[in-house]
């Protein structure tokens, strides 16, 4: 069984937390904190297994994690799961995210936590591995997205327009417009 799946960045900010056993919110935060402290002090070239922290699990539990650029993906599992299998599962999870978000980066996870949850739900259900075949996972996600699109089309059009405007972030864009360096431009004008 998988007890918890945590994703946080290099500074310990949670990006996704999924507990398959109930913990109150403050406890969840403590677990994330502790796990981050355990994981973050390890070099990249050491093994990916850790005997569990004190808050979550116990002797039977292991932390299995992978570190991708700015993000840590940590699975807390018991002895019924294969260690290498879970490592592969993390890989499948990240590759699926990469396919869904097209070159996934931390920002995608920050702004679309809900979507990440939906993707994770197609891999793991109630702490048990549901599906490991990536094409199968992707088709399921696609079909559900289609369902959403059909519904959303009419209702949310205005809201989307607003958010599109908000997204434009006009003042910043004005700042970002690069004008050619004038003196240089003048110099370049050769008669």
């Amino acid at each position: 069984m998988i007890k918890a799946i945590l994703v946080f960045n290099n500074h310990g900010k949670p990006r996704l937390s999924k507990f398959y056993q109930y913990f109150p919110e403050d406890m969840q935060q403590q677990i994330i904190k502790e796990t981050f402290q355990l994981v973050s002090k390890r070099d990249d070239n050491v093994c990916n297994f850790l005997e569990g922290g004190s808050l979550i699990g116990g002797s039977d539990y292991k932390l299995i994690y992978r570190h991708y650029a700015t993000l840590y993906f940590v699975f807390c599992v018991d002895s019924s799961e294969s260690e290498l299998g879970i490592l592969d599962l993390i890989q499948v999870f990240v590759e699926t995210l990469d396919k869904c978000f097209e070159n996934v980066c931390e920002l995608d996870l920050i702004f679309h936590v809900d979507k990440v949850h939906y993707i994770l739900n197609e891999l793991v259900m109630g702490g048990m591995v549901l599906e490991t075949n990536m094409t199968e996972i992707l088709t399921r996600i696609e079909e559900q997205n289609k369902l959403e699109k059909q519904e959303v089309g009419i209702i949310a059009a205005p809201a989307r327009a607003v958010s599109a405007v908000k997204n434009m972030n006009i003042p910043q864009q004005i700042k970002d417009i690069k004008l050619p360096d004038l003196p240089q431009a003048i110099k370049d004008l050769k008669f």
Binding site: K18, L50, S82, D88, D114, Q144, I155, A159
Partner: protein, 941 residues
């Protein structure tokens, strides 16, 4: 209507979306809490609106805030509202929020039963799937009971997506509602052979989880799994099956024998490391379960060890780690085959990865022998110097001690060396708990190994010397506990006791338990020194010491700690008495010298035998024995001790007592009690006291709790004489800077090899079985134990009562009948009703117990009520008993009916497995699928 919609939409334009919230939080890093509390207010406003899409937006934001640690349980009702939306998009948001924030004790879950049932039966597979996924996170006992049938029907859905999820969901249902397991089990079994590989894999997963906790109920499935294992190509499933077999083999050795061959085939053929590793693990489990009677099992072990060696030598740290982990499993049963790879393990100790070093340390335990112990410990000591981080250091320390002390110091040939190692260790930095470990180890060695005491005591004296001389403290304080104790207890072995006493007297403020030991042992030392001086009649020296001690103790008398205060005041008084007596003696001696130069030699001898010091020493006499760890538990409970009976008879509350009597009691009570008291507490006469004392002495004689000083001491002293003492070559250890003192024993060991022949002659009686190894001093192995108890008695293991898997321990081989099911349902319904009754009673119960307390003190006024309550209780008890009996009868009948069939079936199964195993070896396919864990880094910006 349309207008209203448009209006709503326009209003929505100004609501914050989830993206806005996230952006806002990122922009307000300085006052995040304030910003979020503001957002919370907005969300609360949004939740009050009628529009569901507004609500869903608010809930989506709440889900995000939940991740940041905010409690959102207050919005539970709104979440359910959003879940009930007809739009998939909104529903999704609601179910996600539910799965993140609900838990099985939420009272709100009652409201969701029908909604989820509707969802499960939905035509759209994704809606049903959504409900299943969400439900799996918070299913409660009630939900499990009410929905189990709906989920069961989903098992035969036409869509594999639903079947897959329903199978996994069933496991969660079983955990909460174990009664569902029996009717569902045949269906689950069918799913093991589902045409869809995903469903199959899910079913295997569920059975594995079930079998992990109660393996014996699933042995009958072994043939199915065996077939799956030899035909499947899905690595995920194979891993699960192989793990499952690992759990089953200890119960059925025949299964293990059959497994060996296909598993070794897999080991040879597979390219997937994860599968290879699990195969090795299960082969190890099989080999452990059938430790004898296998012709070629040495070959299998060899194969495992070889493959593990390849894993450990791999550059991938993960494989290395797992390889060591599996190695340690083999170590338990086949230490010899692992010992061959000692080089590898030692190499792993040098690894830069801490987890790997820790695993290698575990293995080291089985690697040591008398010959290599010193070398290995020396290596570990070098590591200790280099190691950063206290966790690893602490682990190293405890491993060194574990390795050396295992099996009553079996591998230690030179205890001097071991004591120096411990002293070296004492001068390093550790976590707070480690000092205690070293100090108890020092005491243990010195108490149990007689021969080492002189050396240990001199080392301890040196330690005390360091401690007092250096202002900067090099030694762990806890070790001083051992130092003080050993110097005091074995003061006979001290070379210069007076110096040590002075060292001990110059202690600085210490933790209370250490300071107390210091004071106590100062007294012991003092008694020892005094004995010498008194015989030599150097009374002035004694008086000086008395003053010294009393001066020091003045400070300790003022200590805040009670223990220290008490000890020091006791010590003070004793020293004061001694001082007075000695002064008297001194005067007498002076007088005698003046009076007459001729002394009566007989009288003098009398005095010598009757010295004050001898009296004082008597306080500390007696041999100390190590006490076995379980000794206290083994003390038999006396026959006449009945812990259940009342010590004071409780006031009776029988129904026969009439109200009149009760009311009478109220008034008479106090007088009566007074009268009783007078009668009871008569002054005991002299004779009574004597009788009591005799009885007590007699009891003590037969009571194992009491230490019987004289008898045991005599026996021990006899034993001590029998123990051969090895000659110690005491060249006083010199401290060479930069080199561990313990290192020199490695050299002396080599020297000794040359001398061995001569030494052997000396100690012929002791020649040990290990020929190359010099004889070690004897270690006392006996423990103080109460009569009739043995060490080997194991504690009965107590299972965790809260474990949900306990309830799942259902014998599934007994086939379920339809009639039985119906009856069960009925009885279950009845049971529910009664449960409800009981519940209402439970609510009353606390009141009753309150009353009960009052009754104990005050004569019962409301006896009627109490009896009523009791009546109710006994009735429900009866009813429950009836139900249980009914059930038992049903099961009995069934067993009789089905016994014949079962027997036949089993025979059939056996035949099947035999034929299958023959087939399987031939049509085995090489599995494809998961590769070894890849290490690519995704392009992340």
């Amino acid at each position: 209507m349309a207008l209203k919609k448009v209006k709503c939409n326009i209003e929505r334009m100004f609501d914050k979306s989830l993206t806005d919230l996230v952006r806002g939080i990122r922009n307000n890093k300085e006052n995040e809490a304030k910003y979020i509390s503001q957002c919370m207010e907005d969300i609360k406003l949004e939740l009050r609106q009628d529009n569901l899409s507004v609500k869903s937006n608010a809930i989506a934001k709440l889900t995000y805030l939940q991740m940041l640690g905010y409690d959102i349980s207050w919005a539970g009702f709104n979440i359910i509202e959003v879940m009930s939306s007809s739009k998939f998009t909104l529903k999704r948001i609601g179910y996600l929020a539910a799965s993140q924030s609900f838990h099985c004790d939420s009272e709100l879950l009652m409201l969701t039963t029908n909604m989820i049932r509707k969802e499960l039966n939905s035509q759209n597979q994704y809606e049903a799937g959504l409900a299943l996924t969400s439900l799996s996170c918070y299913v409660s006992t009630d939900l499990a009971r009410d929905l189990s049938n709906d989920i069961l029907t989903l098992l035969s859905s036409t869509k594999p997506y639903i079947r897959k999820k329903a199978v996994l969901m069933m496991y969660k249902v079983f955990l909460k509602y174990p009664e569902a397991l029996r009717p569902a089990f045949p269906r689950l079994k069918e799913k093991l052979e589902d045409p869809d590989p995903g469903v199959q894999s899910a079913a295997v997963n569920v059975v594995c989880e079930l079998a992990r906790k109660n393996p014996k109920n699933y042995l009958s499935l072994a043939p199915v799994f065996f077939k799956l294992m030899t035909t499947s190509t899905n690595n995920w499933m194979l891993i699960k099956i192989i793990k499952l077999f690992g759990a089953l083999t200890p119960l059925e050795p025949r299964l293990g024998k059959k497994l060996i061959e296909p598993l070794t085939n897999l080991i040879h053929s597979t390219s997937a490391m994860s599968l290879l590793y699990e195969c090795i693990n299960t082969v190890i489990a099989v080999l452990i379960s059938i430790s004898s009677g296998m012709p070629n099992h040495a070959a299998s072990i060899q194969l495992c060890v070889q493959k593990l060696r390849i894993l450990i030598e791999d550059s991938d740290q993960n494989l290395k780690y797992l390889g060591l982990l599996a190695m340690s499993k083999i170590l338990k049963t086949h230490p010899k085959s692992v010992q061959a790879h000692k080089d590898l393990v030692l190499q792993c100790l040098e690894d830069k990865d801490e987890s790997i070093r820790l695993r290698a340390l575990d293995l080291l335990y089985g690697m040591v022998s008398k010959k290599n112990l010193m070398e290995i410990v020396k290596k570990l000591m070098v590591h200790m110097d280099k190691a950063e981080g206290t966790i690893y250091r602490d682990e190293l320390l405890s491993k060194i001690i574990l390795i050396c002390s295992q099996n009553n110091y079996q591998f230690i040939t030179n205890f001097e060396w071991y004591v120096t190692v411990l002293v070296d260790l004492a001068q390093m930095e550790f976590g707070s708990k480690q000092g205690h470990v070293i100090s108890s180890q020092l005491m243990d060695v010195s108490v149990r190994v007689e021969a080492i005491r002189p050396f240990a005591v001199s080392e301890m004296a040196d330690l005390l010397n360091y401690y007092t001389l250096n202002s900067q403290f090099m030694v762990m304080q806890e070790v001083l506990y051992a130092a003080a104790y050993l110097c005091g207890e074995f003061s006979i072995h001290l070379k210069d006791p007076e110096k040590v006493l002075k060292l001990m007297l110059s202690y600085k403020p210490l933790p209370q338990h250490i300071e107390a030991v210091f004071i106590h042992n100062i007294l012991k030392l003092f008694a020892h020194i005094m004995e010498k001086y008194e015989l030599e009649e150097q009374y002035d020296e004694i008086l000086n010491l008395c003053d010294l001690i009393m001066n020091k103790l003045q400070d300790s008398l003022k200590s805040i700690e009670l223990e220290v205060q008490e000890r020091s005041s006791t010590c003070m008084t004793i020293v004061e008495i001694v001082k007075e007596e000695i002064e008297l003696k001194k005067q007498n001696a002076n007088k005698q010298i003046i009076d007459s130069d001729e002394m009566d030699p007989i009288k003098k001898e009398k005095d010598a035998g009757n010295t004050l010091a001898a009296d004082l020493l008597q306080l500390f006499q007696g041999e100390l024995n190590p006490v076995a760890p379980k000794a206290q538990k083994k003390v038999p409970i006396p026959e006449d001790l009945d812990l259940d009976s009342w010590i004071n008879e409780p006031i009776e509350e029988s129904e026969s007592e009439s109200d009149a009597e009760i009311t009478e009691n109220i008034f008479v009570n106090s007088e009566r009690n007074g009268g009783d008291n007078k009668e009871k507490y008569k002054e005991p006469t002299e004779e009574d006291l004597r009788k009591n004392r005799e009885a007590r002495k007699h009891e003590q004689l037969h009571n194992p709790h009491y230490l019987k000083g004289n008898n045991s001491f005599d026996e021990d002293s006899e034993k001590i004489e029998n123990i051969p003492i090895t000659d110690l070559e005491l060249n006083i250890p010199l401290k060479v800077p930069g080199q561990k003192r313990s290192d020199k024993y490695l050299k002396t060991k080599e020297d000794k090899k040359h001398k061995k022949k001569s030494r052997k002659k000396k100690h012929k009686s002791e020649s040990s079985s290990d020929e190359n190894v010099e004889a070690a001093p004897t270690v006392r192995r006996e423990f103080d134990m109460p009569e009739g108890a043995t060490l080997s008695d194991s504690d009965s293991s107590r299972g965790n009562e809260n474990d949900p898997h306990k309830a799942l321990n259902i014998e599934l081989d007994i086939p379920s009948m339809n009639d039985y099911n119906e009856e069960q349902k009925q009885s279950a319904d009845e049971y529910k009703k009664k449960k409800f009754k009981k519940k209402t009673e439970k609510e009353r119960k606390p009141k009753k117990s309150d009353k009960y307390k009052k009754i104990k003190n005050v004569p019962p006024k409301d006896g009627m009520l109490v009896s009523l309550d009791e009546d109710l209780n006994s009735k429900t008890m009866e009813v429950n008993d009836e139900i249980i009996e009914e059930k038992k009868e049903i099961v009995k009948e069934e067993k009789k009916l089905k016994k014949h069939k079962k027997d036949k079936k089993e025979k059939k199964k056996d035949k099947e497995t035999k034929t299958k195993s023959k087939k399987s070896t031939s049509d085995y396919e090489e599995p494809l699928g998961i590769s070894t864990p890849s290490k690519e880094f995704l392009p992340v910006q």
